[in-house]
């Protein structure tokens, strides 16, 4: 969709996003209308709305963008995507920004990367997610005080048989792990 004139122009950070996110080149079509920021359930608490982030990407403000809380406040509800008049894949761009921020440890004041890491580590190990393991590991390492507050809720979940004590492991975990190894090798992302 993007004309050939763009190939060598624009902010380097913009090109980085285009490389990172499938469909990311649609960012250049942003009209700055604010449909995304208006639609976002967390829009009121974002440091910069997605629209502002796109303007900052165009202005090559790489560090400021990667340190923002915007993408960590994205709840993947896809309201912005389905409403965007320019069909920009905003949620996917938020995922892309999270990936870059995690890779370069640029994120600030958020535990979201730790949560994601705990989640995927468990997935890699067992093939299934493990809520108790997730909760305990994540809270133990990141938010010990919050863990105490969680107490009664965890208990009521447990008494209703909604929280298991042992993780389920899939049968062919080796198969999954070799797929993951290959993906890391091809994608060049080391965890």
């Amino acid at each position: 969709m993007v004309g050939t004139t763009l190939e060598l122009r624009g902010s380097p950070f913009l090109h980085e996003i285009i490389q990172e996110v499938p469909g990311g080149e649609r960012i250049v079509r942003c009209l700055q209308c604010g449909t995304c920021g208006g639609s976002c359930p967390n829009g009121a608490d974002m440091q910069y709305t997605p629209r502002t982030i796109f303007a900052m990407i165009a202005a090559n403000q790489r560090e400021k963008v990667l340190k923002a809380n915007t993408m960590w406040f994205c709840v993947s509800c896809y309201f912005c995507v389905s409403r965007c008049p320019q069909k920009i894949p905003i949620t996917d761009i938020m995922y892309g920004l999270k990936r870059i921020a995690i890779r370069e440890r640029m994120y600030q004041d958020t535990d979201a990367p730790a949560l994601a890491k705990t989640f995927t580590d468990l997935l890699d190990k067992y093939g299934r997610s493990f809520e108790l393991g997730l909760a305990s590991r994540y809270y133990l390492f990141n938010r010990p005080i919050a863990m105490l507050k969680m107490g009664p809720m965890g208990l009521s979940m447990f008494t209703r048989g909604r929280m298991s004590l042992v993780p389920t492991k899939i049968k062919n975990i080796e198969q999954l792990q070799s797929i993951i190894r290959k993906a890391r090798e091809l994608g060049g992302t080391q965890q």
Binding site: N42, S82, L123, E131, N172, A183
Partner: protein
């Protein structure tokens, strides 16, 4: 009617009620669900924020494991449904990515041809494939007088062109009307429950949950119906914490739509997983349903 079945991790344990009621209702409606053998976690939203290719490959393993004679897979969980659909669609749109994903799968001696399997959500399947007449035929306990708020959440209706409107979906409303329930207007029915926000920033997460509870209470709903384990968990398990955070006193039972369908079909409540919800649903149901057909 045979479908591959991808329950997803939540249905194994934290949302066992969903799994139980899905299986019981499917059985009654003559839907054969064949669980994908040795399926793995879809990675929810977490894998995509770290490594896109691995995220896709992990999801694609499940698609590749589907028995060759089945061409449709049904997922009851919103995140699982979206992830399976997203990978299938990304692979269709981008042959280079499809090739990479298949290289990964090949490391596990698997392969998936994009488009081979159609990814469906359970609601679509019950609404479209079973349809109004068959559903109405099965009702033994009409839900007359029960005011339900149908909550769709996000990822079932967005971003993919799906079976329902992304802003104001109606399929669950229709389904509930077929079984006699009174569907309340619930303008926030496709708004967000916060997803994993509870783990990231509680004030924001609680606010999102509060909006939904507040709206359902305003429209005097007896209960909220969910079709996603995450939505159910957030609205149900966090309801008391939301109450103490905002000084409110919501006591709205949150159950899965299949549980209520089961009730209308006269199935055993225990087998539908009642009792696992934290805000109990049974008192409301007993009060509202004049002639309970099922045993407790």
């Amino acid at each position: 009617m045979k479908y591959a079945y991808y329950p997803g991790c939540s249905l194994e344990c934290s949302s066992a009620a969903y799994d139980m009621s899905v299986r019981a209702v499917a059985d009654l409606l003559g839907i054969e669900l064949r669980e994908i053998d040795d399926w793995n976690c879809c990675g929810a939203t977490e894998y995509f924020s770290q490594d896109e290719l691995t995220a896709c490959a992990v999801i694609a393993r499940n698609l590749a494991l589907i028995e060759p004679q089945l061409d449709q897979v049904v997922a009851p969980c919103a995140a699982c449904y979206l992830n399976l659909r997203k990978v299938d669609s990304l692979m269709k749109e981008d042959p280079a990515l499809a090739d990479k994903i298949n290289q990964c799968l090949a490391a596990g001696r698997l392969h998936y041809d994009p488009g081979r399997v159609r990814v469906r959500h359970l609601l679509d399947l019950i609404h479209t494939d079973i349809g109004e007449t068959a559903i109405k035929d099965k009702v033994v306990q009409p839900l007359t007088g029960l005011r339900v708020a149908c909550y769709y959440g996000c990822q079932i209706v967005r971003p993919y062109d799906g079976f329902d409107n992304p802003e104001q979906p109606v399929k669950l409303d229709e389904l509930m009307t077929w079984v006699g329930a009174e569907v309340v207007d619930f303008p926030v029915k496709a708004h967000c429950c916060g997803g994993h926000m509870t783990q990231i920033s509680e004030p924001q997460a609680f606010e999102l949950i509060r909006r939904l509870l507040h709206n359902a209470a305003e429209y005097r709903a007896d209960l909220i119906l969910c079709m996603c384990p995450m939505c159910q968990l957030n609205l149900d398990a966090y309801q008391n914490r939301v109450n103490s955070f905002f000084g409110t006193n919501y006591q709205i039972p949150i159950i899965f739509f299949t549980q209520l369908l089961g009730v209308a079909f006269g199935l055993d409540w225990k087998k539908l997983g009642f009792g696992k919800e934290i805000v109990p649903a049974e008192p409301v149901l007993r009060k509202k349903l004049t002639a309970p057909a099922a045993t407790a």
